[in-house]
């Protein structure tokens, strides 16, 4: 699975996700990627999220929307909301995956509960950074 989240110069947020699914998956199986609120979500008032991992878990927890809800309704920061969902909610399912997220201020969070996640980020005036493991 791959994905991207962005905040543009006008403060607008967007998210996109794309996947081939899981190796040897059942034909017709659909994971969280195309399900808005589970693997992909964007709301200018809170955050944009793209997920990767064991899709059924992200579907059951409505993971991407849950991060946004924690920010809007509980006043959590992006980092707090994303970490709670990935490490506490999804943490009950070890190695279930991770998310990338950006908020309206341009903060970025990229928590995952497995050994690694191919990832990268860049901001205005800063060098791009890429990583694989913790």
């Amino acid at each position: 699975t791959v994905g991207a989240v962005a905040r543009d110069r006008d403060g607008r947020l967007a998210a996109a996700t794309s996947t081939g699914g899981m190796t040897a998956k059942a034909p017709g199986r659909v994971g969280d990627t195309p399900v808005i609120g589970a693997g992909t979500f964007a709301d200018d008032g809170s955050c944009a999220v793209s997920a990767t991992g064991y899709g059924e878990v992200f579907l059951r927890w409505s993971a991407a929307h849950e991060i946004s809800a924690r920010m809007r309704l509980a006043g959590a920061s992006l980092e707090e909301a994303a970490r709670h969902v990935v490490e506490v909610d999804l943490g009950a399912y070890p190695d279930s995956g991770g998310v990338i997220a950006v908020d309206a201020a341009g903060n970025i969070a990229m928590p995952f509960n497995c050994e690694g996640m191919y990832r990268g980020h860049v901001r205005t005036g800063a060098a791009a950074q890429t990583a694989i493991y913790r």
């Binding site: 998210a15 034909p27 690694g116």
Partner: protein, 175 residues
Amino acid sequence: MSTGYALAIHGGAGTLPHARMTDAAAAEYHAALAAVLAAGEAVLQEGGSALDAVTAAVCALEDAPLFNSGRGAVFTADGAQEMDAAVMEGTSRRAGAVAGVFGPRNPVRLARAVMERTDHVMLIGQGALALGRSAGLPFEEPEYFFTQPRWDALQETLELRARGGEDDDPARRHG
């Protein structure tokens, strides 16, 4: 409102276990991720929208056979490839998604066509493909999407299952 931009990308969490990752492979992944960031950042630097930036970044990821989407998509148990994609913008909460498609070079562009050209949020299968053709999106033949490592991974998984094994290795999910 700040005039800064920010972009984050991921290429999946089904990574090779650290012990199996060679320096050469890691360098290849880092280079690919950097190229994807550059594609998305170029849009933002020019004052483009977040929606255009994430579309450009995901297209670049889909074009790279290292990652599980588009050209590097994994195979189903039947030896086929089925792709899913979605896009959403946060200003008006417009969203588009597709599932179970095969043929469009960039499934994320098909998802965006659903958002921009229909009243719907998700289309699947033949209906989605018909939209892609009417929108003039590029399609590719099966050979374009075939990669030997993904085919080998399918065979290994099927053999494991035939022996009654449980395939719970996250590195094999490519998800």
